[in-house]
């Protein structure tokens, strides 16, 4: 017995040490492989070589917001085509590489990793802030600049990542503008605010609520719905119970379309207003006649920018439909990256980042530069409305007269 036990433990010891050895070897092998692969992908990066310069575009290409993501990708592709037709950058062509982030944090993180391993010199894209946050973290760790065209959550530039830039404004700028319009132009004193619990919507709702309270209005309702459902009638009935004059919804267009339609069905009379994720043309398909009269705060759509006329017709010619709300900001995002590469004279990501910090760019969305944290300056938010089943520019804030005036004045 004693002998067997000793044998047993002896065998066990041998087995354990053999297993341990295998484990250590495996770990060493994996680490070596990882190190070597990152080194080899480093050499395959756009920073060296004479092939195309890769620009990564992580956007939602599946799921509820696929139409917005596809629109942004089209903007990037148009920019690349234009730049390449004019001779490219540093004698090399720009190539757009897209990855689907599905507007989810987990998928976004993976999408960014894939783009990094494909050797992008910079990234320009993003739609949902939920996905943009982990994407930005991944790009930051890899030292790759990320110019965001549609993600408006303030956190993105407040984390101190030098690689964060955006061509779009921030929710803590949009919120006060919405509040100013609601109290200053619509003269509402009872306001309801709704969101869908996403990073972006919650951020914009919070910014708007604090701005409304500062402006002296009463926020009679501040709650979230669950996105992805069809029936929001009870949610709307509850809002109606609090008797607001205006309802500001900070979520996305699939739900806003349903809210517009169902509010009309219920005979609710308050003004419906949305944040800038509701400016998608597909909203008009869902809500149809119920959309007329709805208001939205947004960065100017391409069709309202005099500098973007050529872009609108080029988009129409290439894709058979008008551009969506963010593709023009993506067009400028790719353009400013290309310009930064030219200024830096190199495709090394750190040099591109440095060039972006001090760049001054004239794009189809206007002239802008990036401030110390990477936000676009100046920012331009206007209020649009829906008339005859179309988006129409409505009012903008005139700083000199402190009044809300027509956009085209």
């Amino acid at each position: 017995m004693r002998g067997a036990r000793r044998e047993g433990t002896g065998t066990m010891n041998v087995l354990r040490s053999r297993t341990a050895a295998t484990a250590v070897l495996a770990a060493v092998a994996l680490t070596a492989a990882a190190c070597s692969s990152s080194a080899s992908s480093g050499s395959a990066k756009s920073s060296t070589g004479t092939g195309a310069i890769l620009i990564g575009v992580p956007v939602p290409l599946s799921g509820e917001y696929a139409s917005a993501g596809t629109d942004i990708l089209h903007g990037a592709q148009l920019a690349a085509t234009k730049i390449n037709a004019a001779g490219g950058v540093l004698g090399r062509k720009i190539q757009i590489v897209s990855q689907d982030d599905a507007c989810l944090a987990s998928t976004g993180s993976q999408a960014a990793q894939k783009l990094i391993s494909q050797g992008v010199a910079a990234a320009a894209g993003g739609y949902c802030s939920t996905a943009a946050l982990p994407e930005l973290e991944a790009f930051h760790r890899a030292g790759i600049p990320y110019v965001m065209d549609a993600s408006t959550n303030p956190q993105l530039t407040e984390q101190g990542f030098t690689q964060a830039f955006r061509t779009i404004g921030r929710d803590d700028e949009q919120g006060p503008i919405a509040a100013s319009f609601i109290t200053g132009f619509l003269h509402a004193t009872r306001v309801a605010v709704g969101n869908d619990n996403s990073t972006y919507a919650k951020g914009l709702a919070d910014a708007t609520v604090s701005a409304l309270q500062k402006d002296g209005a009463q926020v009679v309702f501040n709650n979230a719905l669950t996105p992805g459902q069809s029936d929001y009638t009870s949610f709307l009935t509850k809002i109606g119970q609090s008797k607001p004059q205006v309802f500001y919804y900070t979520g996305y267009y699939p739900e806003f379309g349903l809210l517009l339609k169902e509010a009309k069905q219920l005979g609710l009379k308050f003004t419906m207003m949305g944040g800038d994720a509701n400016n998608d043309p597909t909203l008009l398909k869902t809500a149809a006649a119920a959309a007329n009269g709805a208001l939205m705060t947004t960065a100017p759509l391409a069709q309202f920018l005099s500098s973007a006329k050529g872009y609108v017709s080029a988009y129409q010619a290439a894709y058979g439909t008008g551009p969506g709300p963010y593709s023009s900001y993506e067009y400028d995002a790719v353009g400013v990256v290309a310009q930064a590469i030219r200024d830096a004279g190199s495709t090394t990501p750190s040099k591109i980042t440095a060039a972006l910090k001090s760049i001054s760019y004239s794009g189809i969305t206007g002239n802008f530069h990036f401030d110390s944290v990477g936000d676009r300056q100046p920012v331009n938010y206007i209020v649009i409305t829906v008339q005859n089943d179309q988006f129409v520019a409505y009012k903008k804030y005139d700083d000199s007269t402190k009044q809300w005036v027509n956009v085209n004045s």
Binding site: A66, G228, Y232, F235, T237, K238, P254, T286
Partner: protein
């Protein structure tokens, strides 16, 4: 008071849609003891078929009433056949295997339907053309549209039809017998495979009807819509007593009302949590559901 009535109206509308789907779950469980996870996706398919029909016929300027009828019948016919095909392909070969195998098969069918719909119709949402009017009537401060009343009416008619079929016809009685005891049913000369297929056809047709009506009413459809609706309908089926047809009808409305009151009096953020808490509570405290399973225990 008017808010309460409005919540009741809203809850009855969504409840009617849920009840139709819950019936399918309960019937299929009754005959083959399978929780058909693909059922919500059958509703989604019905929605898209209805969408294609409505879009085509609207372009050809058919009268609206005819379009609605054709969409409804067309959707039901397609999903009925789809249900039979699914049963034949994915479930029938596994009827004598372990319960786990057929459950996994159901999950696989669910995923397959969702991905197929995504490939065919795209990842974004599609919108039914607005063919139904918003005209309605008010009573005691609550607002209801004629369409809403019509939808609830059609749902009730379909449920009544199913109830009469199950209780008054030979085929329906065969289904009930099969649900009670499969071996005894075979001994009584009931054609079991055919009865199972009939159950699937009926259940899926009802889900298809619900899908088309939801498409006409809410107009926004998406390849993923079946998932959440399926979960809520499944909760309703369990609440009513899985295998119990009248139970599923009532419980569908109950869940619709619970959701509506939760949205109204608590918060929309909590509605799903509350409904699924109901599911858990039922399973823990009264697994046979509110109305009890009508199925005899096998000895």
């Amino acid at each position: 008071m008017s808010a309460f009535l409005q919540y009741v109206v809203n809850g009855l509308t969504s409840g009617a849609f849920l009840a139709l789907v819950a019936l399918g779950y309960t019937m299929i469980y009754g005959v083959i003891r399978l929780i058909n996870f693909a059922h919500g996706d059958v509703l989604m398919v019905g929605s898209f078929i209805g969408y294609e029909i409505v879009v085509t016929l609207v372009a050809q300027h058919w009268p609206i009433a005819v379009i609605v009828l054709v969409a409804l019948l067309g959707g039901m016919a397609f999903t009925g056949v789809l249900g039979a095909v699914i049963e034949r392909v994915a479930y029938q070969p596994l009827l004598n295997s372990s319960r786990l195998a057929i459950l996994i098969s159901a999950l696989g069918v669910s995923l397959a339907l969702e991905q197929a719909a995504q490939l065919i119709f795209g990842a974004g949402f599609s919108a039914y053309p607005s063919v139904l009017s918003n005209a309605g009537f008010s009573f005691a401060g609550a607002h209801a549209s004629y369409v809403q009343a019509g939808m609830i009416g059609v749902s009730l008619l379909l449920m009544l039809g199913l109830y009469l079929f199950v209780h008054k016809t030979m085929a329906g009685t065969a289904m009930r017998a099969l649900a009670m005891d499969k071996d005894a049913a075979t001994l009584m000369g009931i054609n079991v495979p055919r009865t199972i297929i009939l159950t699937f056809v009926l259940g899926s047709a009802l889900a298809g009807a619900s899908g088309v009506m939801q498409g006409l009413y809410y107009t926004e459809i998406n390849f993923f819509m079946g998932f959440l609706i399926g979960l809520r309908a499944f909760t309703a089926a369990v609440l009513g007593g899985i295998g119990n047809i009248p139970g599923a009808m009532v419980a569908g409305f109950v869940i619709g009302l619970i959701g509506s009151f939760s949205d109204g009096y608590i918060s929309s953020e909590w509605s799903d949590a509350i409904i699924f808490a109901v599911l858990i509570a039922v399973l823990v405290f009264k697994p046979t559901g509110l109305f009890g399973e009508r199925v005899a225990e096998r000895v």
